[in-house]
């Protein structure tokens, strides 16, 4: 089941890359690269930082097929993709829930401090988007608005609270992931953003 979620998340990330690359009027190759970077960028950065090489996506060719497949489908049916907006948002949100938990676990496995593990979870879930925006010559969208990385961080904190409470591993995985997903869904639904630090915007 986790694998299915992972694949759905990868698809959603890849498609979000395609949409932004097409806005920038990139060619077919550029679009595929941006789809890739969006889908595997966060996990790649995490693996490099903790020294896991070859990085994960290079060891399982399925990701490559899923990314190329969903990118090509997204290009082909680009006029229809807006109808899928809600599904894509859901896949993406479920994806960051899963990616966060996977990142936290890899940090624990590498023997790192809880705060660093939470950072790794957040990096896994959100730095694909940061790289995507940087390559598209934009200031990363998650630096400017939206409870996105914050949801990942709250999920990571939940993870360690549950360990502290002695909860069993499988439940921790699911509850921490669910916190990420719920926080993001609620924030978007209720239009919650981080408090502005710029006085004239209040």
């Amino acid at each position: 089941m986790f694998y299915t979620i992972d694949i759905l998340g990868t698809m959603a990330f890849a498609i979000s890359g395609v949409l932004i690359a097409m806005e920038k009027r990139m060619d077919l190759f550029g679009i595929l690269i941006i789809a890739f970077v969006t889908a595997i960028g966060g996990g790649t950065l995490r693996d490099l930082l903790i020294g896991v090489t070859p990085v994960s996506w290079m060891g399982d060719i399925t990701y490559t097929y899923v990314i190329i497949g969903s990118a090509l489908l997204a290009i082909l049916f680009k006029d229809k993709i807006y109808y899928l907006r809600t599904s894509l948002f859901l896949f993406d949100t479920i994806g960051i829930g899963l990616y966060t938990v996977v990142g936290v676990e890899k940090g624990i496995h590498a023997g790192l401090h809880p705060i660093i593990c939470i950072a790794l979870g957040m990096i896994t879930a959100s730095f694909g988007g940061v790289l995507r925006d940087t390559l598209c010559n934009e200031i990363p969208v998650i630096f400017r608005r939206e409870i996105y990385a914050t949801a990942c961080i709250l999920g990571g904190i939940t993870y360690f609270i549950l360990i502290y409470l002695g909860v069993k591993n499988d439940y921790i995985f699911m509850v921490a992931g669910a916190v990420v997903i719920l926080v993001r869904l609620l924030a978007v639904k209720l239009k919650i953003a981080l408090p502005s630090i710029y006085p004239n915007e209040n």
Copy 2:
């Protein structure tokens, strides 16, 4: 001979970095860094992804000398460099042919899937340019036009077809490299680009 090609390719990449950095009116230091990043960025990213450290250029000081030397010459003779345009284009094209094959070989050596090896060849040959453009605050040119990465990918595919056909290693190296070079030369000569996916541009 391969070493000579490698050096010529490194020179061409470094000089292409100098030209773009000067357009952006960077100072001497910025120009040198962009020359470096263009010349060694692709190989560095490849080495990081497969876990080969210290990365290659750090182990052979010749690259550093060649890059600094050609960058300084390019700055000094910047008014004359446009006369060398055709030679530079040739060096650059021969360079990506070589870099592609080297990248594919390192992937095979690391025991990776053929498709991942081809991706590594393409990354080696073209991500120096991607990093150069990103640091110069431009959307990478290879994401928008020109059969460049596509030539690398076709060369990588040729490599594995030749292995499948049982061709001897030395020939594979040369034929796959030649495919990259020929595809790029033909594409530029015949002004072939990837088919547009934006309807109003056809």
Copy 3:
């Protein structure tokens, strides 16, 4: 004492990240990430290039606390921070002196060529700023003006001259760091920049 300098340098780098992120009107999360990237980006790139993982800041949680702490203080007292401009400039300059020497030493420890070690020193001291500017969608400021990286390179050269002269390790550390600091202070004081290579600017 070195640790104190390191912490002061980290603080200065983090605060410089905060100031630029706020100019770009990023949200709280974006500001924290830019503070982090500015403070640990150079050392992280150095560690990745030579294969030291998990990268340094992940192994000592103090850096994370210092960065988050100084970033939050900088946001809170943002109106007052301009009064601290001179102190910050001093911390930053002392920081790059220290970072340069640390980078050179890690290169020597990894058995690399002196020129590569000097490059590592410069990367440690200045690539946090390069990443900061790239994520903020600007051409890196050190590519366009200011004797900054040049000061690091001169400090690195001093390091190897002192080794060659047989000076004791502790003195080398201090003298090479002092050269970086003095060159930068003098250059800013006397408004010295690299000689322009663009004729119409002379």
